[in-house]
């Protein structure tokens, strides 16, 4: 029987211990709450813009069958097939019915709640409650209008989900000034920033990988198709034809930029370049394709995750705030 000498077992155990410690250091770095303030303010604005953009169509998109565009019930039916426990606007309407409140009134109140939550988040008033309300109402709307939802909605849900769980309030919020709340655990702040950072790496790696698998991104035809595709026709085709030889280069650059994001965004020397390129890409998507909500949520998430300078909290601060 093969016997491992004690020294080898010890070496193996210390290697595992070392690996585990470095993983913990990676997962729980000490951070200040500047990034959280950026995320809170950015998402607050995002929620406000979302509510204002849909102001005129809110009832039409989310009313029940016979009153709205397609009726909320179909989207809610598809959602409830996945799980009946996923919140929808139908829940809120049902609650309102118990108090003799009409569907129109419930939808109006819901919209006002969403707008107010966005404003409160931006200002930093009642941060936690506002984050929970914004997440819940947006989730209900996204699920009820599931057939009308696109990428920006799921990313917004994710960002609000992380914000809601993060250690709010931050020191730039009104809550902190008014209630003089204690500084948050720097390692908890570091953990939630890591979550956001790792999530973005997934978003870009998977998005880049999927694009690399399509031939249209290598020859630029996908950029042409996406820019002349109604309702995204913000650039006249004649202008695009003038830059036709740039399109393949741009297409390949987008693929490489996205797929290599999880590597170069972590390297200190390349972080700024990748961040600037990604933000520029999203700004271009917003301006040239009219996908403002998608562009804004991605820019906010990127800036909060990698753009805000990491002022590592001192161990003294950690002890003071009662870490662990």
């Amino acid at each position: 029987m093969l016997k491992l000498p004690g020294s080898q077992i010890n070496a193996g155990a210390s290697l595992v211990k070392k690996w585990w410690q470095s993983f913990c250091r990676f997962l729980f770095p000490s951070e200040t709450d500047t990034w959280l303030a950026a995320l809170r303010i950015g998402l607050g604005l995002q929620v406000v813009v979302y509510a204002l953009f849909l102001r005129s169509d809110w009832h039409y998109l989310f009313a029940s069958s016979g009153k709205g565009l397609v009726g909320r019930e179909i989207g809610e039916g598809i959602t409830s097939f996945d799980s009946p426990f996923i919140p929808t606007l139908g829940w809120l309407v049902a609650i309102g019915r118990n108090f003799n409140i009409s569907e129109e009134a419930v939808l109006s109140v819901t919209w006002v709640c969403l707008l107010s939550a966005g404003c409160l988040l931006s200002l930093g008033l009642f941060c936690r409650a506002a984050a929970i309300v914004a997440w819940l109402v947006h989730l209900c709307a996204a699920e009820s209008g599931g057939l009308l939802a696109y990428g920006a909605d799921s990313l917004m849900t994710t960002a609000l989900f992380y914000l809601m769980l993060s250690p709010l309030p931050d020191r730039y919020s009104f809550d902190h000034w008014v209630a003089k709340t204690k500084p948050r655990n720097p390692q908890a702040l570091g953990f939630w920033r890591r979550v956001l950072q790792v999530h973005l790496c997934f978003v870009y790696f998977i998005g880049g990988l999927a694009k690399c698998l399509g031939n249209g991104w290598w020859d630029g035809s996908n950029l042409w198709r996406s820019l002349i595709r109604p309702p995204f026709t913000f650039v006249p085709p004649d202008v695009l034809i003038r830059f036709r030889y740039v399109l393949p280069l741009l297409g390949i650059s987008i693929c490489l930029l996205e797929v290599s994001y999880p590597i170069f965004i972590w390297i200190r020397k390349t972080r700024v370049i990748w961040l600037v390129c990604i933000v520029a890409m999203h700004a271009a998507i917003g301006l040239l394709m009219g996908l403002y909500l998608f562009a804004l949520v991605m820019i906010v998430m990127n800036i909060a995750a990698f753009g805000v300078v990491s002022n590592t909290a001192t161990p003294q601060t950690a002890t003071e705030s009662g870490a662990h």
């Binding site: 729980f28 069958s65 799921s154 849900t157 999927a210 031939n215 042409w224």
Partner: protein, 199 residues
């Protein structure tokens, strides 16, 4: 006391689920044969997709509490779908037009209407989903609802014919030669006030 353990356990579960969702999406694209990979990989991709969806509990019965729990969490966290936007290729646009037949023999053409650009973008998303075979079961109902939304504004209409199709844009060379987008009908429905008939 267990603050760290709880956090890293959640981190592990959360990103395990996200990995499964993302790769299920990638493998689905490959299995559909819509990528540049050779067709021999389609079958492996189907198996891999199955494995990924199994991790998400989707192979269990619809009433399975674990499946429902995972689905609820995925939706709550906004990670129920992968991030394959505009990939592997930009899909064709889709169009739905209604022919409105009046009693006096007049015929008008109209599309579903919304007020804002933000809602128009969502309407386009809905039309793209109508073309997807995964939504085939609700296709007729959705078109009927959209037809009804138009009928509410033109209540003297006797019959509505809905035609749905794909809009194929020209490539750059074709555009330079003067070719413009072409419309390829996919299906149509006739709706009247009393009965509906699929054509």
């Amino acid at each position: 006391m267990y603050w760290r353990q709880i956090h890293w356990a959640w981190f592990g579960i959360h990103f395990f689920l996200l990995t499964a969702v993302c790769f299920a999406g990638i493998f689905w694209l490959i299995a559909q044969g819509s990528t540049i990979l050779p067709s021999a990989s389609d079958e492996y991709a189907r198996d891999a997709e199955l494995a990924a969806t199994w991790c998400l509990g989707k192979e269990a019965e619809a009433s399975n509490p674990l499946r429902r729990g995972i689905a609820m969490y995925l939706h709550a966290a906004g990670i129920q779908a992968g991030y394959t936007f505009f990939a592997p290729n930009v899909p064709n646009q889709h169009r739905l037009t209604f022919e409105l037949f009046y009693d006096d023999g007049r015929v008008e053409h109209q599309s579903p209407q919304v007020l804002s650009k933000a809602a128009a973008l969502r309407l386009d998303t809905l039309l793209d989903k109508l073309a997807d075979e995964r939504y085939e079961a609700v296709r007729e109902v959705l078109v009927k609802m959209l037809a009804f939304s138009v009928w509410r504004q033109h209540q003297d209409v006797k019959k509505v014919r809905a035609t749905f199709g794909s809009v194929n844009p020209p490539d750059i060379d074709e555009f330079e030669q003067g070719k413009r987008e072409t419309f390829q009908p996919m299906f149509s429905f006739d709706f009247s006030l009393r009965d509906d008939q699929d054509q």
